[in-house]
């Protein structure tokens, strides 16, 4: 039985598929990873230095894929450029292209380029053939790596990061606003939505970078810097507490206020969304990770135990945050705006917006990250003779190896 009770006749078909749940998930990872990177750069949290470049490359990989679910979802993707040419200024969605481009081109790419410029120049000098040409192109003709030039890079990079933090907030807060501003839908319509989206983004991004870092060190057979991972886990714990408090505030507010939509939404949470919301999002994806992180904060555990806990916490967190996106996007369409009925969502498999495509879009950023890491190794340490033409730039970059 696809529907229960009464749905408006045009409501039976769900309009926004799993790809629309994937989109805020991907941008959330971007925003979270960038904010983690900025901890080192702006807030001088030296312990997370080993993940700085990895976090930036992770953010870039996910950001490059973020618009794809939207393009695949559009009825007329060939017309999407109209949002740039004739944006409708009253629409929250119209600003997507501009916010995206700003964040991609004015923040992330610039910051990565500035941070890697010296390495790119050195790699262009030490490589041959096509590789040399590639790195020479990446230098954009700027091959001055004197101490003064590198100091300037540092200064500009710092400014870009400072601008980048509110930009990352904007990128994801605005995604929350797209949902939070739909007054027709009581499941979405709350001013807390952008804030909840933002903090859940930070949670997911921090968890993703932590997991990727542990995985990368294992693949490279290098020791994991536990001081770094412990610090990341501590920040993850703090962010998680804020995120969970906000979500509970929203929930308590809804229960206490109990407006006309409450009976309908309450029924949904206890039936159709029980597994994805109560079991996966709240218990497995939030309470267990918070409990485990709290345990690592109060009990002195062995390194290998802590590492295993962090891997488990990271995995559960990523699943939990995806469940949160699912519950917002899909959950918000399972009940009728008449509050008199419910429908179901059946995900396709090999369809344009099906499961296979969703999995592919989740894997694609990891492939892009792998390529980026190959091209711009975060742990690149030029040998002494290559370093000869320049004096050490404060040691920050050279010591960024994992």
């Amino acid at each position: 039985m696809p529907t229960d009770g009464f749905m408006y006749p045009n409501e039976i078909e769900l309009q926004w598929s799993v790809l629309i749940a994937l989109y805020p998930y991907l941008t959330g990872l971007v925003a979270g990873a960038f904010i983690l990177a900025s901890l080192e750069r702006v807030f001088r949290v030296d312990a997370v230095k080993p993940t700085y470049r990895l976090a930036l490359l992770t953010a870039l990989s996910f950001l490059l894929v973020a618009p794809l679910p939207l393009q695949l979802h559009l009825g007329h993707p060939e017309r999407s450029f109209e949002m740039f040419l004739t944006p409708h200024t009253s629409s929250a969605m119209a600003m997507f292209g501009f916010v995206y481009l700003w964040y991609l081109m004015a923040v992330l790419v610039v910051e990565i380029w500035l941070d890697y410029r010296r390495d790119i120049v050195l790699m262009s000098r030490s490589s041959t053939g096509l590789k040399r040409l590639f790195y020479r192109m990446l230098t954009l003709g700027s091959d001055n790596i004197s101490e003064r030039a590198l100091q300037l890079d540092q200064k500009v990079g710092w400014i870009v990061t400072v601008v980048g933090i509110p930009s990352a907030f904007l990128l994801h807060g605005y995604v929350g606003f797209i949902f939070g501003s739909v007054k027709a839908n009581p499941w979405w319509s709350t001013p807390l939505m952008p804030v909840v989206f933002l903090f859940s983004a930070m949670v997911s991004g921090i968890a993703a970078v932590m997991l990727i870092y542990i995985l990368v060190t294992k693949l490279r057979r290098e020791p994991t810097d536990m001081r770094c991972v412990d610090t990341i886990a501590r920040y993850l714990f703090y962010t998680f507490i804020i995120d969970f408090s906000l979500e509970m505030l929203d929930l308590i507010h809804r229960i206490y206020e109990a407006d006309e939509s409450f009976r309908s939404l309450d029924f949904m949470v206890h039936t159709r969304l029980y597994l994805s919301q109560i079991v996966i999002q709240i218990v497995a994806g939030t309470l267990i990770p918070i409990g485990l992180l709290a345990l690592t904060q109060v009990v002195k555990l062995r390194e290998d135990v802590r590492k295993r806990i962090y891997v488990l916490v990271g995995t559960l967190t990523l699943i939990g945050i995806f469940a949160m996106r699912w519950n917002v996007v899909i959950g918000g369409q399972l009940f009728s705006k008449s509050f008199l009925g419910y429908t179901t969502y059946k995900i396709g498999f090999i369809t344009r917006e099906g499961l296979l495509m969703t999995v592919a879009l989740c894997i694609l950023p990891l492939i892009i990250l792998w390529i980026l890491v190959k091209l711009l190794p975060p742990w690149y340490q030029p040998s002494e003779e290559r370093l000869m033409p320049v004096s050490a730039p404060g040691g920050r970059r050279a010591s960024a190896g994992l």
Binding site: N10, L74, G75, M93
Partner: protein, 244 residues
Amino acid sequence: MNLTRRHFLILLPAAAVAWEHVLAGAPEAAPNYKMAEHWWGLLINIEKCIGCGSCVRACQKENNVPDGYYRTWIERYRVSEQWGVAEPIVDSPDGGKNGFPPSNDPNMKEFFVPKMCNHCADSPCTQVCPVGATFITPDGVVLVDEKYCVGCRYCIQACPYGCRFLHPEKKTAQKCTLCYHRITKGLTTACCEVCPTGARQLADLKNPKDPIHEFLRNHSVEVLKPHLATGAKVTYYGLDASVR
């Protein structure tokens, strides 16, 4: 300005594209029809609706509405009451296109509620459209430019009344146009035209002499979901509080 034949030929295709865009945004017009002189709305008299479905059928035929989608539909409310709390049971088989199976429960009040786009003055669908493909005409009709719509479906989500759908073949948002091609020629909408009881009546809210406009001024009427402040222009007479 010195325009050579060569330059003129180069500019011609660009001008043609630009002109097509200008035309795409302009609604159909008829001679002597002045948009600025009208502000359209509609009155639905619940007490007159018999749920025959003629309006749904006429709309589908007039506007070539695909099967399974509705620009207008009829809901049947059967409302029981327990301790002062209304318990409505609502159905709308095939949008009420073929009428409703009989139901004579003496313990329930029963009535029909025709639904359609409310052509809101402050329509949420117009507000959220990222490219401005959904717009309100100077005479108060909310329309979709299907040559411009990107098919993002944000407008469908934003409509509190469930009046929009994505056309399964054109992949653009669709909804009631208030038969704009008819009303700009001095005709009424297809649904109003065929209603055997006159339960639906087109109203020109800028014309004080319009009898329906006068009816609206002199009777207690209501719109759907007034708390959402969408400026709905489809007004109901005899609307029950249980209707959503």
